[in-house]
Symmetry: C2
Subunit: 469 residues, 2 copies
C-alpha cells in the first residue's frame, strides 16, 4: 500500500504549476509565513469553520513534557519572532488560490475561505519573558484566541520557540561553565541547519550569554560587531606563494594590525616562538592566538609560557563539558569559539496543547502523553534571590505571598504587541540573573536535577475531577 | 580578560543604527546572502586583495573527514541551493557601507572595496549530482575560482550542503529500511531549526525517498501536494463541545471524506471498533488511521484485526532503528510520519579546504585534521550495477577502464550554471539507484562499514612528496 493519509493515491503527483515554481526557490519571505504550517492545521480549521466552532475561544499552552537529556533547566527564547509572526498573520489571495488548487479542500465550507481571506490574529498571548528559566510541564507561552487562529499558528510558534530555546539554554550553560570573564564566540553558521537557522542561533546565543558572532549578516541585523580570526586557508594560500607561515601572518597584520592569529596550521609551538620573538623585538602587536586542533591542554600551557599575557582562543567541536574538562585539566584558555555543538543536536521538544475551549478545561489522555488541563500560571518562589520552588497553578490563582512571582505575562492583546521587542542586553541580563538564581544541582552538568515543581491544590483538584470524568 | 579576537574591547558595543535594525527582524532575503558568511572570510579576502593575490586561481574541496556515527554512506544534497547562491553572489552599496561602519576594515586596502562593489562569482564548480552516495574524504563539490571569491563563499556552501546532505541521507536510510511500499511522510516542521530549515528539510527528504511533506509552504514551493491527518486538538475541541470522539470524527469526515483519523486521543481500540462498526454499516469511508502513542506493535496488530484492509500510520519520535524494530516485532504499519529525528540531530560535518593555489597543490597538516592535496576526482568501480570500490585520484587522471565512472562533473562554468535545476523525481530515482548499488554492510543499520576508498598511485605519490617537503 503506497498511499498517504488524507490524500488519494495521487499524493506524489505534482500540483499544477502556478507561475515559477523552481525547486531551488526555497527562500522564505515573511509574506509566506502563514502557509508555513502543517496541512492538518488547515484541514482542522476548515472543519471548525464548517461546524461553526472557528470563533470559539480556545487556549493552547506551549511547554515541554520533559527536559532534554542532561539539562536541568531551559532558557525560554524566541518570543519576539513568535509575536512578529502573529502580527503579520494573514493569507494572500494567491495563497488561497494555491490551497484551492491542491484539490484537498474541495469539500471545505465556504466560511473557511472567508476566514482565510479576511482573518488576522486577534487573540491574546501570555508568555514568560525571553531569558527566563523554565522546567518540564511549565507553559512558556499561552495563546487565547478564536479556535481556528490558535490552531493554525501552532507549527510556526513551535518552530521558533523550540530552536531558540535550545540555543539559548546551551549558551547559558556555556557562560555558566566558562565563567563571566571568558570570551565566548558563536562560530556555528557553517553547521547551522539553513541560513535562517544561523541567524536565529546567533540571536539566541547572544541573548543568553555569548559575546559575539562570526556571522556578519546576523551581527549587522542585531546591531552588533561581528567577530572572528582567520582560517587555515589564509596561511596555506599566502604561505604557498610567499613561502612561509610567518609571512602570511605579517601580511594579515598589515591590514588587521594586532589581529588574533590562527597558529596551528603546521606547528603551533614554532609559530608561537616566532611571534614571541617578533613581540619582544617590538615588530608586532598581538591581541590573541587561536588553536583549532591538537592537545589543547598541553598546547595552551606551553603557549602561555611562550607568549605570556597574550589571550589564547580555542575552537573545534567544543561544548560545555569539554570546556569544563579543559578547565579542570589546567588549560590556559581565555576564549572559546562555539559552533556545531551550540547550533545543532537534539531539539527541545516543545508541544502546544489545547487546555481550554469556551471556558471548559480539556486534557489529553493518550498513554504517556497526558497534559494538565486548564489555563495555567507559574508561581516562582524566591528567598534571597534564590529560587526555592515553582508552583504550577491555574491562571485565576494569585501568589500566596510576596515571595511568589507569577512568570507568565500578557504580551499581546487583541493581536497587538504590548511592548516593543527588548534589546539583546536586557535578555542577556535576565538570563544571567535567572541562571544565578537556580539551585546548584540544577546548574551542574552531571545529572542535573530540575527544581521542585508542585501542582497547586486547585490544579490538582481539576486534574482529579477530569481523570474521573 | 574579556576580549574578542580581531576586535578591540568594544566588541560587545552596538554598531551605530543604520535605519531600522530591530532584533526581531531576522528574515533572510536572497539579496542579503553574500553577507551570510563568517567575518574571517571577509578579512582574509581583504588581505588577499592587499597582497594582490585575490585573483589567484584557488581550488577548494568540500568533503567530510569522517561519516557521522552509525552511517555507512552519505547522500549528497543541496547543490541546487549552492549554485543559486553563487549565481546571485554580489554586495550592494548598503552592505558595503554597513561593513565599513563596523570599523573592522579601517586598514583594508581600497582594492578590497572595489572587489566587493563590482565582483561576481566567476568561477567553475565541479560536483557530484544530488542523490549520489559519497564517503569520507571524497569531495562532494570543488570550487575553482579567484581566491577571494572561493574564500567568501565557504560558509554558505557548507551551510546548505551540510544540512541537506544530512536530511537526504536519513531519508534514504528510512526508505531503505521501510521498503518501497511504505508511505513515508515528512512531519518535522515544528522541530526544524527555523522556518527555512523546515523547507530545506522537506526538499531533501522528498528528493531522497520520502513521499510527501506536511509543510504546506514547502509542498507548494516544490510543486507537490501537502499531506497530513489531524491532531488530538480536533478530537479534544470538537469532543468537548459535541460530546464524543465519534462526533469529532464525523464532523471531520464531513469536510474531508475518508480522511485518515487519529484514533489515540482516548482509547485507540475503542475508536477502532466504532469505526469498524460504521464501516460495516456503510456509514463512512476510511483511508487510514493514525497512532501517535502507546505500544505500536500491540496496538497496530489489534487494529489490523479490527479494521482489516485499512492502512495504519504511526508517528511519534520514529527513526530508521525504530522502524526496523517495529517491523521485526511484527507491527502492522503501512506508513510512518517522520519528524524530529529526520530534521534535527548531529550534523554532517562537512569542511571546505584549499587543495590547490595557482596550480600548486597544498594540504593542511594540523594534527588529526590532515587533508589530501590537489584537485581530486572520485572514480567509482561498478560490477553488474553493484559498487565495488572507489578510487580517489587526481582530477587529471582518467578512469582505468569502462567499469570506473568519474563522479564529479562540471556543473558551473564561469559563474553560470550549465543545467537547470533537476526535478525532485530525478534525484529521488538517483538516490534509490545509488543506495541499491551499495554493499549490504554499508546499508545496514548496525555498525555499517563504508566501502573501500583507495587512493590512486598519483595521489599517493603527491601526498608522499608533500609530507616530506
Amino acid at each position: 500500500m503506497n498511499i498517504a493519509p488524507d490524500l488519494d493515491s495521487s499524493q506524489a503527483e505534482a500540483v499544477p504549476e502556478r507561475g515559477k515554481k523552481d525547486n531551488s526557490e526555497l527562500t522564505v519571505y515573511p509574506e509566506d509565513y502563514s502557509l508555513l504550517t502543517d496541512l492538518y492545521q488547515l484541514t482542522m480549521a476548515a472543519c471548525y469553520a464548517g461546524e461553526s466552532l472557528d470563533e470559539r475561544k480556545a487556549c493552547f499552552e506551549l511547554f515541554v513534557r520533559r527536559l532534554p537529556e542532561g539539562f536541568g533547566y531551559l532558557i525560554a527564547m524566541g518570543l519576539a519572532q513568535a509575536l512578529e509572526y502573529l502580527e503579520q498573520f494573514r493569507f494572500s489571495s494567491e495563497q488561497i488560490a494555491a490551497l484551492q488548487a491542491t484539490g484537498i479542500f474541495s469539500e471545505a465550507p465556504e466560511r473557511f475561505w472567508s476566514l482565510l481571506a479576511t482573518g488576522r490574529f486577534t487573540g491574546d498571548v501570555w508568555a514568560v519573558q525571553e531569558g527566563t528559566a523554565v522546567f518540564a510541564n511549565e507553559p512558556l507561552l499561552r495563546v487565547e484566541a478564536p479556535l481556528w487562529q490558535a490552531q493554525i499558528v501552532e507549527t510556526y510558534l513551535l518552530n521558533t520557540i523550540n530552536y531558540q530555546t535550545l540555543v539559548a539554554t546551551r549558551a547559558a550553560r556555556l557562560r555558566d561553565v566558562a565563567g563571566p570573564q571568558a570570551t565566548l564566540l558563536e562560530f556555528g553558521t557553517r553547521r547551522a541547519f539553513s541560513p535562517q537557522a544561523s541567524l536565529w542561533a546567533a540571536r539566541a546565543a547572544l541573548a543568553a550569554g555569548l559575546d559575539a558572532t562570526s556571522n556578519v549578516l546576523a551581527a549587522l541585523k542585531l546591531g552588533r560587531k561581528p567577530a572572528g580570526t582567520m582560517a587555515h586557508a589564509l596561511v596555506m594560500a599566502l604561505g604557498a606563494i610567499h613561502g612561509s607561515e610567518g609571512q602570511a601572518f605579517a601580511a594579515f597584520h598589515h591590514y588587521f594590525p594586532g589581529a588574533t592569529l590562527l597558529i596551528d596550521t603546521y606547528d603551533a609551538l614554532a609559530a608561537a616562538r616566532l611571534l614571541a620573538y617578533q613581540l619582544q623585538a617590538g615588530e608586532i602587536e598581538l591581541r590573541g592566538v587561536r588553536l583549532d586542533s591538537g592537545d589543547l591542554v598541553a598546547l595552551s600551557r606551553e603557549i602561555r609560557s611562550i607568549l605570556p599575557g597574550i589571550p589564547i582562543f580555542a575552537s573545534g567541536d567544543l561544548d560545555e563539558w569539554e570546556i569544563a574538562r579543559l578547565q579542570a585539566e589546567g588549560a590556559c584558555i581565555d576564549g572559546y569559539g562555539l559552533g556545531t555543538k551550540l547550533v545543532t543536536g537534539s531539539p527541545v521538544n516543545g508541544v502546544y496543547k489545547l487546555v481550554e475551549i469556551e471556558g471548559i478545561p480539556v486534557m489529553k489522555k493518550s498513554v504517556g502523553k497526558e497534559t494538565y488541563p486548564g489555563r495555567k500560571q507559574i508561581f516562582r518562589r524566591f528567598y534571597q534571590n534564590q529560587m526555592q520552588a515553582d508552583r504550577l497553578g491555574l491562571a485565576a490563582e494569585s501568589p500566596t505571598d510576596d515571595c511568589e512571582q507569577p512568570l507568565l505575562q500578557l504580551v499581546m492583546k487583541d493581536g497587538k504587541r504590548l511592548q516593543p521587542p527588548e534589546p539583546l542586553e536586557a535578555m542577556r541580563e535576565r538570563t544571567a540573573i535567572n541562571v544565578a538564581s537556580l539551585p546548584s544541582e540544577t546548574r551542574r552538568l552531571s545529572e542535573p536535577q530540575q527544581p521542585p515543581v508542585e501542582l497547586s491544590k486547585e490544579l490538582q483538584a481539576l486534574l482529579q475531577q477530569m481523570q474521573i470524568s
